[in-house]
């Protein structure tokens, strides 16, 4: 009788261990699935946010090439227009609030200018430079968002005007509002 009771207790203990093990494994399985999906969703959202913010700027009328360089292109920035905009924003600080960001910068990455290691800010040396800081507000800046853009301008060679397009990165720095 005692032996039978022991056997029953043993059986129940085994059963409890098995059920616990089953739920632990099933829980781990669900957690792994859920967290990997979260990671993917976060990456997707991050990419989408950066894309929306930077694309909105690159394709805004103040930046975009429009049809000035043949067919209209996506993420194409007219650098001649940008240099005019840069000068205008320097004299009209109110204009900085138009885009709702802290800093906008364009860095030409190919072809490289100078030694290719140090940035050359575009002022009177345009187009022999690689960095155009359109404006920079005197505020704390958030982490940068960037996208590749085509940077186009008009050039004259032997009396002919032609389009020259290069590869650049458009950097947008949002204002850091974490301390507000």
């Amino acid at each position: 009788m005692v032996k039978r009771g022991q056997l029953k207790i043993q059986q129940m203990a085994f059963m409890l261990i098995a059920v616990t093990l089953f739920f632990v494994l099933a829980g781990m399985f669900v957690l792994v699935l859920k967290f990997s999906d979260l990671k993917k969703t976060a990456l997707g959202l991050e990419d989408k946010n950066a894309m929306l913010l930077v694309s909105k700027l690159a394709n805004s009328p103040e930046f975009s090439c429009g049809s000035a360089f043949g067919t209209s292109k996506i993420n194409c920035i007219d650098s001649d227009k940008i240099m005019m905009l840069k000068n205008y924003v320097q004299n009209n600080k109110d204009y900085e609030d138009l885009w709702g960001v802290g800093k906008i910068q364009i860095r030409k990455i190919f072809p490289k200018e100078g030694d290719g290691l140090t940035d050359i800010e575009c002022e009177g040396n345009y187009p022999n430079c690689n960095l155009i800081t359109i404006f920079e507000k005197n505020v704390a800046l958030g982490s940068e968002q960037s996208t590749y853009v085509t940077l186009c301008r008009k050039e004259v060679d032997e009396g002919y005007i032609f389009s020259k397009c290069e590869i650049a990165l458009l950097f947008v720095y949002p204002e850091d509002r974490t301390n507000e």
């Binding site: 993420n75 194409c76 590749y148 002919y160 590869i167 650049a168």
Partner: protein
Amino acid sequence: MNKNILKFSGLRKNKKGQEEMVGFGLIIIIVAVILLVLLSLSMSGRDKEIINSYEISSFLTSMSWYTTECKTHLELQPVSKLISDCYQNKMCLDEKSACDILNSTIKNILDASWSAGENFAVKGYRLRMSSGDEESFLIFEEGNVTSSIKTGYIPATNNIDIHFSVYY
């Protein structure tokens, strides 16, 4: 006689209990093994993630509009036009092959834009151009292939597609 019968029935009950326990144990082991296999499968499957990236697509788009040195008539050709010229084995005005200029231009662009290697965030990349179902006619590779991949694709002119994969 009665004593013997009781002893025999007790033995049968014990054996039956043992069989039940062995069966139960087997079921637990089988279920645990199946769960572990599923778990490891799902984890190994997740490691190799291929993400379609806007960064890669925007890079390909801006690269395709880059103005090359190849002059035909009065215009300097963009990379997108040079790709189809290369596919048709055309020459530029200065008698240079469209493919030679395309090769050097894309190689220089990739070197300037994507630093790949063991000491960088980008471990390697692979850019290939193909027309329809044909094999790739131009491939640019650097570094190692890993399981974390970001890809981008643009359909270029004359049915020539550009695929670019970056390995992290």
